[in-house]
């Protein structure tokens, strides 16, 4: 009896602390903030216990468990036990007292330790347990340099995510985006690449003329983008590691909307040299182009279906922009969106069944997800001028741009729309996020 009352008291306390933590996070200014939209009733509770440091030197600057916890929280499928509720600090499976974590209603517990190697590297050992079954699910170690511990943390989050959900994790990935700072004649544009949580931003290219539409190659080694640095739009392909780049199209009119095919051999793009913007496919070896769409409409924003056989694009051939699909070798196009005045700029989930897009109605533009099987679409963003959705490679989350006051900012949203996170990455405008493919080790 006393135990039950105590449990209820504890549960109430936990709820209050969660609310207090959420409130505190909502107030913080310039750090990325987590904004829980519809509560987290269906999210799985997991305790991520701080990994103890075992070494003679100073502990690393990176808070590995904070990075893991942030990853798990922002995907919307988990909620981590707040730090203030962690009452015991096991660092290995043998130290876990399961009744404690059962009482705290945790489904899973992740413990670990950071061991300093003689060379200075850190070996992070971690174990994941199912609390109810008292069963070990993972026991692994990843070694990284002190400066690379965010990468290690994202990989641990990925492994835990995959073990529990059965879907490959996508936290250890990167994002590309465009920034613009300054006004008038002093505007500076930059194409940036950062970790999926916005940390470690690096400049890929800078320009005084507009940059737009970054797109990843399927191996994650290159970016295609549109630059106005030659006066008109041109499409560049740039190797991220070396900075080496080439112009692949600088025709008269629009050279826009590049998209690499899944097999990496082709680039879909928009060209208007023949009079009107149409979709073309370019062989990357040799740069020869094939026209896929025809007519006087604006056809643009081509995106490849995961099988590489079909291309989804935006066209206003029926009056207002809507999504269509066409065979990657050309032919007749079929309209696929019928709800909403304005549907454009598709981002296709890996399963090919869900398509995120910009859905406009009057002066309100939001990100909506189309279920291709049923034809229904549902909004998952809440702004007025939201743009440019981009799915994570496992489709657990999306990035998009929101316009807030005079600024464009990035948001990460869970695929179920429940958890949104504002990523404050730079002064000025940040827009057109593109989520990278899965990373391979050594990249």
């Amino acid at each position: 009896m006393t135990q039950r009352i105590f449990a209820r008291f504890l549960a109430t306390l936990v709820l209050m602390l969660v609310a207090a933590a959420a409130f505190a996070q909502g107030l913080s200014g310039d750090v990325p903030t987590i904004d829980i939209k519809n509560g987290t009733a269906t999210a799985t509770p997991i305790a991520v216990i701080p990994f103890a440091f075992e070494g003679a030197g100073l502990p690393p600057d990176t808070d590995v468990t904070a990075v893991i916890g942030n990853d798990l929280n922002r995907c919307g499928q988990f909620r981590t036990l707040p730090k203030t509720d962690i009452v015991e600090y096991p660092t290995r499976g043998s130290e876990i007292k399961f009744p404690t974590w059962n009482l705290l209603k945790q489904a899973y517990i992740l413990v670990g330790r950071q061991i300093e190697n003689p060379g200075g590297d850190i070996r992070v050992e971690f174990e994941l347990y199912d609390v109810a079954k008292q069963q070990q699910l993972l026991a692994l170690a990843i070694t990284g340099q002190r400066t690379g511990l965010r990468d290690v943390a994202h990989q641990i989050a990925d492994l835990a995510y995959e073990k529990i959900t059965g879907v490959r994790g996508a936290f250890w990935t990167r994002i590309a985006y465009i920034t613009s700072t300054g006004t008038g004649n002093n505007i500076q544009y930059a194409l940036m690449v950062a970790d999926s949580d916005g940390f470690n931003p690096q400049t890929v290219v800078r320009s005084r003329e507009p940059l737009l539409s970054p797109a990843w190659s399927s191996d994650g080694a290159k970016l295609a983008y549109v630059s106005f640095e030659r006066g008109n739009s041109s499409i560049y392909i740039q190797e991220i590691a070396t900075g080496a780049r080439e112009v692949v199209s600088a025709r008269k009119g629009i050279n826009g909307a590049p998209a690499f095919s899944p097999d990496g051999r082709k680039l879909a793009l928009t060209l208007s040299f023949a009079g009107h913007p149409n979709i073309y496919s370019m062989e990357l070896a040799g740069h020869q182009i094939t026209q896929l769409t025809r007519g006087f409409a604006i056809d643009t924003e081509p995106k490849w279906m995961p099988d590489g056989q079909t291309i989804v694009f935006t066209s206003d051939r029926s009056g207002k922009p809507q999504l269509y699909q066409i065979s990657a070798s050309g032919g007749a196009a079929t309209r696929i969106t019928f709800q909403g005045d304005y549907n454009a700029n598709a981002s296709i989930a890996w399963d090919g069944k869900h398509i995120a897009m910009v859905q406009g109605s009057g002066n309100v533009y939001r990100i909506a997800v189309l279920d291709k099987t049923t034809g229904d679409s549902k909004p998952i963003s809440v702004g007025n001028l939201d743009d440019h959705p981009s799915y994570a490679p496992n489709a657990s989350m999306l990035l998009y741009t929101a316009t807030e006051g005079p600024r464009d900012v990035l948001y990460a949203v869970s695929a179920n729309g429940r958890v949104r996170q504002r990523l404050v990455l730079a002064d000025g405008d940040v827009r057109e996020p593109a989520w990278s493919p899965y990373r391979q080790r050594g990249q």
Binding site: G256, S272, I298, D316, K320, N345
Partner: protein, 170 residues
């Protein structure tokens, strides 16, 4: 009073051109051709002079505005189109770039298409009114170059525009 000033100006320009001749070795031929042409073209017998671009109230109008998601040229811009066409006809060496723009609503790549459609509409109208197609070039900036950054119709209508930019005046 006005005429003597122009005479002096012409003489000065001619002087610069002559001085240019002395430097033939270092200066490319183009550099001296321009001031000579300027000296002649100030008044080639037509309605306008090169100065008219800065002084004529119609030629000083260089922006055509559009309705939302539209590229039709509204009647109030016909006079502007006509005077620029007349100027281009009078000065066959003059060149303009028609910079098409859109407001921020909608996606950036679609707006590139929309800006081009507007640029093409002005291109066709200016050509129909007598300019040579070779004098005209269309570039679309989509929504990338707003002149106003507020999120309301008052601002959006200023951004839905084609700017007529002279890259060569004669």
């Amino acid at each position: 009073m006005k005429l003597p000033i122009r005479v002096i100006l012409t003489a000065t320009v001619a002087g610069v051109a002559l001085a240019g001749c002395g430097n033939r070795v270092v200066k490319p031929p183009v550099a001296e051709a321009v001031p000579q042409a300027a000296a002649q073209a100030q008044d080639n017998g037509g309605k306008y002079t090169v100065d008219s671009l800065d002084s004529d109230s119609c030629l000083r109008q260089r922006v055509v505005y559009f309705d939302f998601d539209k590229s039709e040229i509204k009647p109030e811009f016909q006079a502007q189109i006509a005077c620029h066409a007349a100027y281009l006809r009078q000065f066959p060496g003059a060149r303009v770039t028609l910079e098409g723009n859109a407001d921020e609503r909608g996606t950036r790549e679609y707006n590139l298409g929309l800006g081009e459609r507007r640029g093409n509409a002005v291109d066709s109208a200016v050509a129909a009114a007598g300019a040579s197609p070779s004098q005209l070039n269309v570039v679309s900036y989509g929504e990338e170059r707003p002149v106003c950054k507020e999120h309301n119709e008052g601002c959006w209508q200023k951004n839905r525009r084609v700017e007529i930019v002279y890259t060569a005046k004669q």
